[in-house]
């Protein structure tokens, strides 16, 4: 693959601040801070990291569901906050589709699944004479006859997740934003869904932003990966480099904690989690300083910059 690949979406200095608590306990939480990454055409890019590190918040800003406090999202070079006209917005939404964690929430339990799919087709003005719905279902290995006239509760979670991917494909998107799309499904189905992402990338030129906790599937499907910690991307590069040879102390810890599906290789060492999430968010310097085995004086008050080392970006003063 060449380096001069076409960029699909890019974020620049993305920041999101939430106000939490009420009254005197009101405080600000910088949930996402200075996040810079891009997804290329024909690429699967993974965002991974601790629960609550800001992954979903990033994806909501990308989709335009949430307004950033600072920073920009560019889709094919255009600042998405400039899409004011409904027609332009709709055009963007057509190209960037999302898939959520819980397929049961995607579908209205009282409506037949196929009518929902046909409505999506109509809503986006897709050619209704074509076989758009049928083809989208075929892309996920389902036939319209299996779906017709049936309500969501007549499907298993796995089937429904496939159907929600099919729904997202109806508009012929260039980018799928998939926030934890496989956390509800078993190992075998998980592989069939990530294999589907690979196929969509290779055969239909769909890029995927894959958000997950599952580093084993992330390694298996993605081209590049960004690891987030407490609102920042702390390491980013080719998945091979980042996961097989992690540089940031947090990525190293993450990798060591991946459980192996082998009863002969159980964890033996104990871990301890001491700090409260909000305390780490509030840190002035490196947010990992409270847990980092290599912490230095400098780390406590100075937020590490984006440093380039061995073919990836790392935010850690060790590599200055």
């Amino acid at each position: 693959m060449s380096n001069t690949r076409e960029e699909l979406i890019r974020t620049e200095k993305l920041q999101k601040i939430f106000v939490v608590g009420g009254g005197f306990a009101r405080s600000k939480l910088v949930a996402v801070d200075d996040v810079n990454f891009h997804v290329n055409k024909d690429e699967i890019f993974t965002l991974a990291g601790e629960s609550g590190c800001g992954k979903s918040t990033v994806s909501k800003m990308l989709l335009g569901f949430l307004e950033p406090n600072e920073g920009k999202v560019y889709y094919k070079g255009e600042d998405i906050s400039n899409l004011k006209k409904w027609k332009d917005k709709k055009g963007f939404m057509k190209e960037v589709q999302s898939i959520f964690q819980n397929p049961f929430e995607t579908f209205n339990p009282l409506r037949k699944v196929d009518s929902y799919l046909y409505d999506t087709q109509k809503h986006y003005g897709m050619n209704h004479k074509g076989r758009v719905v049928e083809e989208s279902l075929e892309a996920v290995g389902l036939d319209i006859s299996e779906v017709k006239g049936r309500y969501p509760n007549e499907f298993s979670g796995g089937q429904l997740q496939r159907i929600s991917i099919a729904r997202a494909l109806i508009t012929r998107p260039s980018l799928l934003v998939a926030d934890e799309p496989v956390s509800m499904v078993d190992a075998s189905l998980r592989m069939s869904i990530v294999n589907l992402f690979k196929e969509l990338r290779d055969k239909r030129h769909v890029s995927v932003l894959y958000i997950t906790h599952d580093l084993a599937t992330a390694y298996y499907v993605s081209d590049r990966i960004g690891i987030m910690f407490r609102g920042n991307i702390i390491e980013m590069g080719d998945v091979e480099d980042v996961l097989m040879n992690p540089k940031h102390p947090y990525t190293q810890m993450l990798k060591e904690s991946i459980p192996e599906a082998d009863p002969k290789k159980k964890w033996t060492e104990r871990i301890s989690i001491k700090e409260l999430e909000t305390e780490e968010y509030m840190r002035k310097g490196c947010k990992f300083a409270g847990r980092c085995p290599y912490v230095m004086e400098k780390c406590k008050d100075n937020m590490p910059e984006e440093i380039s080392v061995e073919n990836r970006m790392v935010r850690c003063w060790l590599y200055e």
Binding site: N153, S156, S183, M184, L254, S257
Partner: protein, 333 residues
């Protein structure tokens, strides 16, 4: 001793309208024995009925879910009690002190408008008579939270101020503070990152070692099972397809579905293409005849399309329901 037994348990979601009756056979004629002082793992396809099974065995079947047949025994003070025959009042006494349930998605189980500490207090006082509050309540609570890596300050927080991982740990703390004999944990680590997941697993294991109770752990994550489950059950479409000790199951899976489940696990450093079971699981409202795995099974035979294989002990303590393995079939041939 077996602490929990079910015999031919059937529990269905039943929808009746004047014109039609629909049944979702989520737990379909299952018999199980669960040993005391063990971690018993359950895995299986999404929607195969794992959560329904847990709800049923802890007495939480509410319409549209109904127990259609079979029995559920708890071992209470050395005697088996059939809980399907208990009166509401008698059952309520057993619940929580004897068996506690951490539901799937339990991060939302905490009351959002009260501080975490009040949830604990309400919960404990509702179940136990507290004599000396400071000693009986605060101290075990402090120890308990410490083991979870949760500082006492979480008690002063409202649930929304905690992260998903923290809420999950708080819920587990809540469910185990009364030292129940059986803990049912439904996907307790699903929404968590690997580090928090590891902390939760460590916690569950510590609790089990300390309290010598039985944990029934449902998760999709085979790596979690490999780490802590002593014995495992694989479910598919409402039935039990295989049961064995964890090491045996990983080393020597006998059911074709289990083989797919274990064979498709991705490994770090290995990008080779992993095949998954072809097709998708059936809907439980519309089960195929015979073996429910037959439309996807590479070894399907004629008999599989007609008859449902029984769960048969193939080797000591390794049971499987598949005609490929079944002794019955070998004898018939």
């Amino acid at each position: 001793m077996n602490i929990l037994k079910t015999e031919n348990l059937k529990s269905y979601y039943i929808f009746e309208t004047p014109t039609e009756k629909k049944e979702v056979k989520a737990v379909n004629d299952v018999s199980i024995d669960i040993e005391e002082d063990k971690i018993y793992g359950i895995a299986g396809e999404s929607g195969c009925g794992k959560s329904t099974f847990l709800k049923t065995i802890c007495g939480l079947a509410e319409p549209p879910l109904r127990i259609v047949g079979g029995t559920i025994y708890y071992l209470v003070n050395g005697k088996y009690v059939d809980i399907t025959k208990l009166k509401e009042e008698e059952y309520r006494k057993l619940r929580w002190e004897y068996i506690s349930y951490i539901p799937q998605g339990s991060m939302s189980a905490l009351n959002p408008i009260i501080r975490v500490k009040e949830s604990f207090k309400d919960f404990v006082t509702a179940h136990k008579k507290i004599k000396d509050e400071q000693k009986d309540f605060e101290e075990p609570l402090r120890k308990h939270l410490n083991a979870l890596g949760l500082p006492m300050r979480v008690l002063k927080s409202y649930p929304h101020q905690l992260s998903g991982g923290m809420r999950q740990r708080v819920t587990i703390a809540l469910a185990t503070i009364l030292n129940p004999r059986i803990i049912l944990a439904d996907e307790p680590t699903t929404a968590l990152d690997v580090v928090a997941q590891r902390a939760v697993i460590q916690l569950l294991k510590d609790i089990q070692t300390l309290q010598k109770n039985t944990i029934i752990l449902v998760t999709h994550d085979m790596a979690v099972h490999a780490n802590i489950s002593n014995r495992m059950l694989i479910m598919y479409a409402g039935i039990f397809v295989e049961e064995a000790d964890t090491e045996e199951l990983f080393e020597n899976p006998l059911h074709p579905y289990t083989q797919f489940l274990i064979g498709s696990l991705p490994k770090m450093g290995d990008k080779s293409y992993k095949i998954s079971a072809p097709g998708s699981p059936p809907s439980l409202a519309n089960l195929p005849q015979g073996c429910p795995f037959h439309p996807r099974c590479p070894y399907v035979m004629d008999i599989c399309k007609k008859e449902r294989p029984a769960l048969v002990e193939m080797k000591p303590s390794h049971k499987v329901s598949c005609f490929l393995n079944s002794k019955e079939r070998m004898q018939n041939e």
